[in-house]
């Protein structure tokens, strides 16, 4: 091994750290809500449609499909609502198909519209 091969292993020469790419690209997220399930569903529908998403409902599951194709096809998002307690629901929002980064962008837009529905985000829940 030559000296420069060793030297180039330095962390100080890894500018990738500027971008913190170790962050995992999550494909799903959750939030809790104190609103009734029907209201949550309605609010998600209301939020998703103007963003260009087609909505399919079945029981407490929603399928949101971006009518426009993205980097890896049409973004497809699955939402499911679980009742945790009589007036507490957990909402799971998961990428079913498409580009993870577009999913993140979509979720960011969605959560802005759902501000009055969301009680605690996933990060809040992880807080000790």
């Amino acid at each position: 091994m030559n000296a420069f091969e060793l030297i180039s292993m330095s962390k100080g020469l890894n500018l990738g750290n500027l971008f913190d790419v170790e962050q995992e690209f999550k494909r799903e997220t959750r939030f809790t809500s104190k609103c009734p399930a029907n209201e949550i569903i309605h609010k998600i529908e209301e939020a998703a449609k103007p963003l260009g998403f087609d909505v399919h409902k079945k029981n407490y599951k929603l399928r949101l499909e971006n009518m426009k194709a993205g980097r890896k096809g049409n973004l497809n998002v699955a939402t499911e609502i679980f009742q945790v307690a009589p007036s507490l629901h957990m909402v799971e929002v998961r990428k079913a198909k498409g580009d993870t980064l577009e999913f993140h962008k979509f979720y960011k837009n969605l959560s802005t519209c759902l501000e009055d529905v969301v009680w605690k985000t996933e990060e809040d829940m992880q807080e000790k």
């Binding site: 030559n2 091969e5 180039s8 330095s10 890894n14 500018l15 750290n17 960011k108 985000t121």
Partner: protein, 231 residues
């Protein structure tokens, strides 16, 4: 995404228009805008003056503002194009441009030569390579006997120092790197090409919660932090 107003120019000294920067680099306008988001976050992390100082650079690379590192110092000095002790946005973009996958190979080779030429004499001397090697070993908490270090240097200089004058000049470096292309791996950041990766960083950075994680703070810690430092 992003809106460059005169506000940017007021708050960020030495700020250059993204369209101009994009035309002079391998970046698209939206990639320059995304880099601006990154730049904003780094340049405000210790002192909110729109410039990246040494501590902020160290914080960005090591997540530790006090971490001193020979190599990070060299990178900082090379990014600090105008030798002002700080990196402005223009410096930042133009320097990162060298790390773009589409940048000219000769620019990468040139940058790496300057990087290792610690005292900027125009030669990479044996003593400098020894100093860097020792710094690397120290950083990785590896221990090697001095004889072993000398052997590694001998081997390196046998291959790189063609005229055997105890130092590596630019031509010798060019040849050496052509024979050992893996040495230039550090000179390319693949995600600079993918604009959306940078946007991911923006969205992550925007989140208040991630700011807390970045500083390793709980909510209580955050309130304490802002009361102490008034951010």
């Amino acid at each position: 995404m992003g809106c460059f107003s005169s506000k940017a120019r007021r708050q960020f000294p030495g700020h250059e228009d993204p369209v101009s920067l994009a035309s002079q680099t391998a970046f698209t306008v939206s990639e320059v805008e995304a880099l601006f988001e990154l730049y904003k976050s780094i340049s405000s992390s210790v002192i909110d003056d729109g410039l990246i100082n040494k501590e902020e650079f160290q914080l960005a690379i090591f997540k530790n503002r006090k971490k001193e590192n020979l190599f990070a110092n060299r990178i900082f000095d090379l990014f600090d194009v105008k030798r002002k002790g700080v990196i402005d946005f223009s410096d930042f973009v133009r320097s990162l441009n060298v790390f773009h996958p589409n940048a000219q190979l000769e620019d990468k080779i040139d940058f790496s030569f300057k990087l290792y030429d610690l005292d900027s004499t125009g030669f990479i001397e044996r003593q400098e390579v020894k100093q860097m090697l020792i710094a690397l070993l120290c950083e990785s908490e590896m221990k090697l006997a001095d004889e072993t270090i000398e052997l590694i240097l001998d081997k390196t200089f046998l291959e790189a120092d063609v005229n055997q004058d105890g130092k590596i000049d630019k031509y010798e470096w060019n040849n050496f790197v052509s024979k050992n292309p893996s040495l230039l791996k550090i000179m390319t950041l693949p995600y600079l090409r993918y604009g959306t990766s940078l946007f991911y960083f923006i969205y992550r950075c925007d989140s208040f919660i991630n700011l807390l994680k970045f500083y390793d703070l709980s909510m209580q810690g955050y309130y304490y932090y802002i009361s102490k430092f008034c951010i």
